[in-house]
């Protein structure tokens, strides 16, 4: 087993190696191009002591390591997206050498080509919507009849009802928003909501959508999101991107059919 391996960042095509100058891959080495079957894999040489199977297994559990690697992996995909069509590889796709990368491109040529066809000239927007919390119930004068215990229960019930109403409104608004955005994009995806501990927001995420749009109409879509947001008062809307088309690279038609 060699002591180095080849980390696959992304697959592209029509990309000359010199255009990758200045892009640093995972592990700190400059990225390189491995060409085969009319495709180009953007790769970086990595030390198997850190990126081999056992090491990866251990390092992926380390949030600091994972954060750094994930950011670099993303930055490379983002940089390649500026140069041509890009299909980002799932994190931790590692081959033993460049020849194995070339073999992979050849073996999966048809699927990768289809994936590139699908995303060429397109970008991904992320739109998340959070439920707007229920307004806090106004304090009622104590002793309005029935005593403090009853007043407490009444307030509690009112608060629960308000919360439920706010959540239902948010869910309905999120559905309408997604439908509107899906109607103005080439493809759309519903992703599971992110947990608040990582989204960093206390509100409940009711929509985590991804939308594939033509790159030259990217701004139109962003404008649309800004225009639609105030019309959905039950949710707070967050736009992220443009992203490389991470959510639209699976070539499986069944996935495409779920939009």
């Amino acid at each position: 087993m060699s002591e180095h391996g080849t980390w696959v960042h992304a697959v592209s095509r029509g990309l000359s190696a010199d255009r990758l100058a200045g892009i640093t891959g995972v592990g700190g080495a400059p990225v390189r191009a491995v060409a085969a079957a009319g495709l180009v894999a953007v790769v970086a040489t990595v030390d198997l002591a850190e990126y081999g199977e056992e090491a990866l297994r251990r390092n992926l559990e380390n949030l600091d390591w994972l954060t750094s690697v994930a950011r670099t992996h993303h930055e490379v995909a983002d940089a390649v997206a500026r140069l041509g069509p890009v299909v980002p590889a799932r994190l931790a796709t590692v081959q033993l050498d460049d020849a194995r990368v070339a073999a992979m491109l050849t073996e999966h040529h048809d699927d990768l080509t289809a994936a590139l066809d699908r995303v060429e000239g397109r970008i991904e927007w992320g739109v998340k919507a959070y439920a707007v919390p229920a307004p806090t119930a106004p304090a009622e004068p104590a002793g309005a009849g029935g005593g403090a215990g009853r007043a407490y229960l009444m307030r509690k019930r009112a608060r629960m009802t308000a919360t439920e109403t706010a959540e239902r409104t948010a869910a309905a608004d999120a559905d309408r928003l997604h439908a509107a955005l899906a109607g103005r994009s080439l493809e759309a995806r519903h992703h599971p909501p992110q947990d608040g501990r990582l989204s960093g927001r206390p509100e409940w995420m009711v929509l985590n959508g991804a939308y594939l749009v033509d790159a030259d109409r990217a701004d139109d879509f962003a404008d649309l999101v800004r225009e639609l947001a105030p019309r959905h008062p039950g949710v707070t809307v967050e736009l992220t991107g443009p992203w490389p088309p991470y959510s639209f690279t699976a070539t499986d038609e069944r996935e495409a059919a779920t939009r």
Partner: protein
Amino acid sequence: MSTLQPRGQDPTNLADILERVLDRGVVIAGDIRINLLDIELLTIKLRLVVASVDTAREMGIDWWERDPFLSSRPRGPEVGAAPTGNEIESDGDRRAVEAEPVRDEGRLDARREETR
């Protein structure tokens, strides 16, 4: 009331990046066989991408269960067994794990290639 959040001080926050690089992008079996689903990373990943499944169901939001790609089997509401949501190794995480292989099914490489 509703506002569009500005693109923000950090438009590519960590949660958004992790979600994309760990859960999306093309799956090609490499020589180094790392099945992301196998490792404890899952606990990070699931906290990341899956909010409280029970809370969602209570609100009638269960599109990932109705979605034939995301779910291969019906799972009844388990509201009565709702975990508090604070334990990483809670029941909620485990159920969410079950959905994972299905989501990846049919990508470039068959799941069996990653199964030891």
